[in-house]
């Protein structure tokens, strides 16, 4: 077990779980809720969309993934400008009553990488409006610093394109972003397997955010549990400090006393 004191804090809120899960792409809201429980998540990301006026009795996310059980992290998925992001998150704040949000301002729908110039501008608008902003970004080390200087509550570089499951493509950049940051750094997007999540944590990430890696697994509940353990393993490995790499072998059994 992770020591109970090993918590992390973002925007003044402290959490034990270092695994944030998305709530998209599940077959049902029930499966979604079960996966979030199996992941041990305390924070879930959510999107803001128009209600369905033709069938108001449709099941709603909040009836299954309950806001009194999870901290909701509203996102700006689908926003392409700072103004869109501010408008969306003002509605989210009204719907949920809190100010901790995830900013993502996308560019091209083929790769879903964020438009970092517009992201930085949107961040400034949101901070002026009183939001605490966790920012989805590219793994650009210099831009990550700019976001932090602009007041980001957390830096969340993509490991690989959203939903690709390709794992960490540039571990050097992720490590450099972690080393320079004084706010939490989370790998957000691109994780495919438990080992990807472990690697992110071994690099020193404060937490990992994923959606498709769990929702897109053959057994999402089992994968959620695997991811929970993977994140804990990576975190403990990071805290324990890895052995030095060597170019040659180093025997574990003593040479003395050989028969």
């Amino acid at each position: 077990m992770t020591a109970p004191t090993d918590t992390w804090t973002v925007a003044g809120r402290t959490f034990n779980s270092r695994l944030i899960v998305g709530t998209g792409k599940y077959k049902t809201y029930q499966e979604n809720a079960d996966a979030a429980e199996a992941a041990g998540a305390e924070i879930v990301t959510v999107a803001v969309r128009r209600v369905n006026l033709s069938d108001p009795s449709q099941p709603m996310l909040v009836d299954y993934v309950k806001p009194d059980r999870f901290t909701f992290l509203p996102n700006t998925a689908g926003c392409f400008t700072g103004e869109d992001a501010v408008r969306t998150l003002r509605l989210a704040r009204e719907a949920g009553g809190w100010d901790l949000v995830k900013l993502e301002v996308l560019s091209d729908t083929a790769h879903l990488y964020p438009d970092m110039i517009e992201t930085l501008r949107a961040l400034e608008l949101l901070i002026k409006d009183g939001f605490q902003v966790m920012v989805y970004c590219t793994d650009d080390v210099v831009m990550a610093k700019r976001l932090e200087e602009a007041g980001a509550a957390a830096i969340m570089p993509a490991a690989a394109p959203i939903g690709s499951g390709l794992g960490i493509q540039n571990r050097v950049n992720i490590r450099l972003i972690i080393e320079q940051a004084t706010v939490p750094v989370l790998v957000d997007a691109g994780v495919g397997t438990p080992s990807d999540a472990t690697l992110a944590m071994e690099l020193g990430c404060d937490a990992v955010l994923m959606n498709t890696a769990i929702a897109g697994a053959k057994d999402p509940i089992l994968m959620a549990s695997a991811m929970k353990h993977a994140v804990i393993a990576g975190r403990q490995g990071y805290l324990a400090g890895r052995m030095p790499r060597r170019l040659y072998a180093s025997a574990s059994s003593p040479m003395a006393g050989l028969i």
């Binding site: 998305g22 959510v46 999107a47 803001v48 969309r49 006026l53 709603m60 996310l61 998925a77 959606n211």
Partner: protein
């Protein structure tokens, strides 16, 4: 009846306030957020915010997302 736009669709509604509109549409007032002509209408003001002809209303909720 007044003609307004709700979530991009033209509608004729009997409601004269935001609260009455949400109820007329069969929605749970605790689970939706309301924007009227690009301005947020806080839940505490739903009952006293009047609807006017031509208003553009957005009613949103949380849905699954990553």
């Amino acid at each position: 009846m007044r003609r307004i736009q709700v979530n991009g669709e033209e509608r004729s509604v009997a409601a004269d306030t935001i609260l009455a509109l949400v109820e007329e549409l069969g929605l749970d007032v605790r689970k939706v957020a309301v924007e009227r002509n690009l301005e947020i209408v806080p839940r505490s003001l739903h009952g006293q915010t009047a609807l006017a002809e031509g208003d553009r209303i957005e009613l949103v909720q949380f849905v699954g997302g990553g």
